[in-house]
Symmetry: C2
Subunit: 333 residues, 2 copies
């Protein structure tokens, strides 16, 4: 059973998961995906290589579960970081705190096509992905042990994706992750002082400055943030104040799919099929409708490498002006 | 001129340094050091390839500066992240904050031998490295624009070291880095509640539990922390409360060199010459002699890769129990 342990100085929870074979991790120097694509557990026809599906979308109403014929499929991770069974058993160990690694770890297989690039994708596929994340969030909300659902994606070798076939992940956990808590605390402090949402203020300032905007539509804006940590870091935010990702309306989903399709195609074209990570920052499960927190998507292309300097300081050095990154992206297809 | 920009939500400063050639960074997919060692700017005989030295140790009292004959050499970084000339010019940009990238960025060439491994090193070399860091910290303290001096080292391809030849770095900056500020705030809260230093308490608990101790001597202890973020993460702490790294006595330096030599040799032997980063966490320049902050060294072998999950959450998953890592290291040469 994995376990959560809390750092007694800064209060950060980490997961210790010794069931992951460390010797194997240590000696795998490979920086390449397995060559034999017929063994991809995410390809249609290989459904038996995964655990039974949690959710699937299909154009065929007569499709049997765990068979081909799907357009999007959600499965439990075969090697989950957290396990769904059990209770948290919060306990002390001298001055330290620990609890069992309870939670959920799911994989969203975004496409049937192993080789599909993000430039080839249509809006309907984005709608499916977004809708499936919302459906899973709504379902997992009912589990009172859980505090947060992180939805993220790693694509490409440099982002350390384990599989080549496009997929997102969803980890539901009994804690609010440190980074999200920091954002909420920072936003709350700003709100106390100004009685405005800091993200709403950022959107207003960016719309007046224009230099860092990549694209916008009726409901969403994509921009390279003022203090970008990484080159070409891009955020997508709802223009109107929204706290919870899973409260999106049908029209929101449509417009988020539109801007997502366009932004990922631009990143593909400008950066030549980069590795990247995508993270959805949304509110904790038990803190809905906050006037000061604003959900958003962070897209981080992995072009440069981080080193001890970043880890040791939390201070990032970015070689690209966000204004220039935004200009490149704005002017691209 | 590089610039600092502050994230308006969480208050993190980042450095934007567009003088670093992004196109070059983006297209360098090389994961190897340059083959031609005669071009190593850190090797004796190549002193003219670096900027003029700031400090050098030599057994030859008649050695001329910037010539061979040194045993350790400190130089300004040829491509500094921060620049020593200028004033900070703190200013606003709408709701955002920025200032000029003023600071120092120095390199400590630790050895004359390009191919020396950390297993081959003697205590005298560690004494030289530690003494040079202290000398440079004491000198840079006089610059009132500076708030923090970060001393760190990246070794090996996986830790993204740019040069193969062993070297440490020192970055003096006009801000206190986020990670250090978090530690200080956490330690201060603990102190308010218990009137004891949290690091002193950790040392006491570890000495009674023993399971996570790698080694100790009269003045120092090396341990794998309870909530290790990374496999084989190892910290070295002074047993008695000390706030500032540069207040080490001659006896402290001797004993820190002893335990450092031993710990790095163990890491080399157990993990087969791993890539790693080393960070010295010490007090901010203007906050000396704090009863609640305790300097320490963090050694992070780079065995696993971090991905979007870690970046997006600040939550780390570690596949190795710290107790097992400590046991491996304790039992090794």
């Amino acid at each position: 059973m994995p376990e959560f342990r809390r750092d007694p100085v800064i209060g950060r929870w980490i997961i210790i998961d010794p069931s992951r074979n460390f010797k194997k991790i240590m000696h795998s120097q490979e920086d390449e995906y397995p060559k034999d694509k017929s063994k991809c557990p995410f390809c249609p026809g290989n459904e038996s290589m995964t655990r039974p599906e949690i959710l699937a979308y299909s154009d065929n109403p007569h499709r049997h579960p765990n068979s081909a014929g799907w357009t999007l499929r959600v499965i439990p991770n075969n090697k989950p970081l957290l396990e769904i069974e059990g209770t948290l058993k919060r306990r002390g160990e001298g001055m330290y705190d620990k609890m069992d690694g309870v939670g959920a770890h799911e994989i969203i297989i975004e496409t049937t096509n192993h080789y599909q690039t993000i430039a080839d994708r249509n809006e309907k596929q984005y709608e499916n992905i977004i809708t499936s994340i919302i459906e899973r969030m709504k379902d997992l909300r009912r589990d009172s042990r859980l505090e947060y659902i992180l939805s993220f994606k790693n694509y490409g070798i440099s982002a350390n994706a384990v599989f080549e076939h496009h997929h997102s992940q969803l980890i539901a956990m009994p804690i609010v992750p440190k980074r999200v808590r920091e954002e909420i605390t920072g936003a709350e402090n700003y709100y106390k002082y100004r009685e405005r949402c800091v993200f709403c203020d950022i959107i207003a300032q960016e719309m007046s400055a224009e230099a860092r905007i990549v694209q916008e539509n009726e409901d969403f804006i994509a921009l390279c943030p003022y203090a970008s940590r990484y080159p070409f870091e891009t955020w997508i935010l709802p223009k109107n104040h929204q706290t919870d990702f899973d409260s999106l309306s049908y029209k929101d989903i449509k417009n988020l799919s539109k801007i997502s399709r366009s932004i990922f195609a631009k990143l593909y074209n400008v950066l030549d099929d980069p590795s990247y990570s995508v993270l959805i920052h949304t509110s904790p499960l038990k803190e809905k409708n906050m006037p000061y927190y604003h959900w958003h998507i962070e897209i981080i292309p992995k072009l440069t490498k981080t080193s001890g300097f970043e880890w040791g300081t939390g201070l990032y050095a970015n070689p690209v002006l966000p204004e220039e990154a935004a200009k490149y992206l704005r002017e691209s297809e």
